[in-house]
Structures are given as C-alpha cells and as structure tokens.
C-alpha cells in the first residue's frame, strides 16, 4: 500500500469542521471519487469529527490518499483524540447506544458508510478511529 498524500488537520472548534469537510471534499474530487461515495465518506467523517469535539474536546485528523494497486485508490482518514476513551467498544458500535443526548447512530452509521472501519480506544488515554473509502466501492 502506498500513501500518496498526507495532511494533518487540527480540530478545535466547530468551525474547523467546515474547513475539514471541504478538505476531504477536495481530496475526493482529486481522485475523482463518485458523488454517492463522496457523500458517504463526508457524512461518516462528519459523524466522527463531531464525536471528537463533543467527547474529547477536539483532536486531529490525518487525511491520506492511498493506493493499494493501480486499481484501488481511496481516501483514508485517521481520527486521533486524547479524550476519555470508550469503555465498551462493542456497546458503542450498537445502533442507538449513546452516553450523550444523541441518537446513537454516529459510530455504527459511520461504519456502514465506509469500506474499512477500525476503532481502538483506551479509557483515560484516547481513541483512534481509522476509516477508508475506496474510489469505486
């Protein structure tokens, strides 16, 4: 796997979300990702970045364009925060489970919208979520 492009965006305030979404949008356009896939990626990114702001008071996102072979190109986003972490990840991945006042669709919804979803969390240390969306798929 080759990482073609790499950028780190800090998320500290709500307005940063708009900037971040625009950057991801630019990356998706750069690799000519289709509209439906792009919308799914942006929506998943929007859910994860909100979690980061609400539960960890911000963090950073690493945006990458990756290429596995000449056929598979995609975008990988790595969300890193130093928030309280998640006690029970399997519970957090269930539809409708929330510790806040939300619908509890953020994490499970984001997983359904992307091709590869990986979450690692350590209570008291932080959470890292990695999502990958292929250009076609």
């Amino acid at each position: 796997m080759v990482v073609l492009n790499k950028e780190i965006i800090n998320i500290e305030r709500e307005q940063d979300v708009v900037f971040f979404r625009n950057r991801v949008n630019d990356y998706a356009d750069k690799i000519k990702m289709g509209l439906v896939n792009k919308t799914k990626l942006l929506t998943a990114a929007s859910e994860l970045v909100r979690n980061m702001l609400n539960y960890a008071k911000g963090g950073k996102v690493q945006c990458e364009i990756i290429s596995v072979s000449t056929l598979q190109t995609g975008i990988r986003l790595i969300f890193i925060d130093r928030g309280p972490g998640i006690d029970d990840i399997s519970k957090a991945m269930q539809d409708g489970y929330t510790t806040g006042k939300t619908l509890g669709l953020g994490l499970p919804g984001a997983r359904r919208l992307v091709n590869i979803f990986d979450i690692k969390s350590q209570p008291g240390v932080g959470t890292t979520v990695t999502i990958t969306k292929w250009k076609n798929g």
Binding site: L35, T43, E47, R50, T102, L105
Partner: protein, 134 residues
C-alpha cells in the same frame, strides 16, 4: 456570526440552506424557526436543502425536531430538494426521518403545503357544520 435567513411569505415560512452547516448554525435555525412560527402564526414551513451536500445524524435530528416542534405549534413542515446521494446516505446511516414530509422541489413542496392547509380548513368547517345541525 453566520445566520440562515427565514423568509415570510403569507402563511408560510421559507428557508433555503445555501451554506455549509455546522452544529451551532443548525441549532440556531431550529430556534429561529420556532420563534417565527409563533410570531407570525405561520401554517407551513418549507425547507430547501438542494444545496446541502451532507445530512448527518445531527442535521437529520434537527430536521426531525423542526417538523415535530412546528407540528405542535400547528404548522406543517416540508423538506424539499434533497440530493439523491444524500437520500442514499441517510438510509445507510440508519436515520429515521419520522414526521418529516418531503417533496422533490420547491414547487411541489408548496403544493403539498397548500393541500395540507386546505385539508385542515375543510375538516374544521365540516366539524362546525356537524355541530350546527345537531
């Protein structure tokens, strides 16, 4: 600070969302709309989201909230112009858009609102007529 304008047209309120929404902005819109409905006794709210590229769980919840809040203030809400890609994403996300009426475009949305209003007034007059004959 950014603000989404709300236009009053007769008994209706029109909202066109043309900028990238962030959470605070969406919350302010919800608040402003409910206040405007109460101030002008509006009977219908039309929200045009044709320029909106993403509706995530938060934004979807706000739309649902607006529909339910306006309902208990005796106003109907119609969301119009959703992009096909947004509709696909909303369903995969698993968002229930309960109580939100939708139409393909502003024209059809206006028709829907007018029909709903007409239906409401007919029901009321029928009830009144029933009452007078007894």
């Amino acid at each position: 600070m950014d603000k989404i304008p709300i236009l009053k047209m007769g008994e209706y309120l029109l909202v066109t969302i043309q900028i990238d929404l962030y959470d605070r902005l969406a919350l302010n819109l919800e608040n402003d709309l409910v206040n405007m409905i109460s101030k002008y006794s509006s009977k219908g709210v039309l929200i045009d989201i044709s320029a909106v590229n993403i509706v995530d769980s938060f934004m979807g919840r706000i739309l649902g909230n607006i529909a339910q809040m306006s309902k208990i203030l005796d106003a109907h809400t119609v969301v119009v112009g959703m992009q096909p890609a947004v509709a696909i994403t909303l369903i995969e996300l698993g968002l229930p858009m309960n109580g939100v009426h939708t139409a393909l475009n502003v024209e059809k949305g206006m028709d829907l609102l007018q029909k709903k209003l007409l239906f409401d007034t007919e029901v009321i007059t029928e009830e009144e007529e029933d009452g007078s004959t007894e």
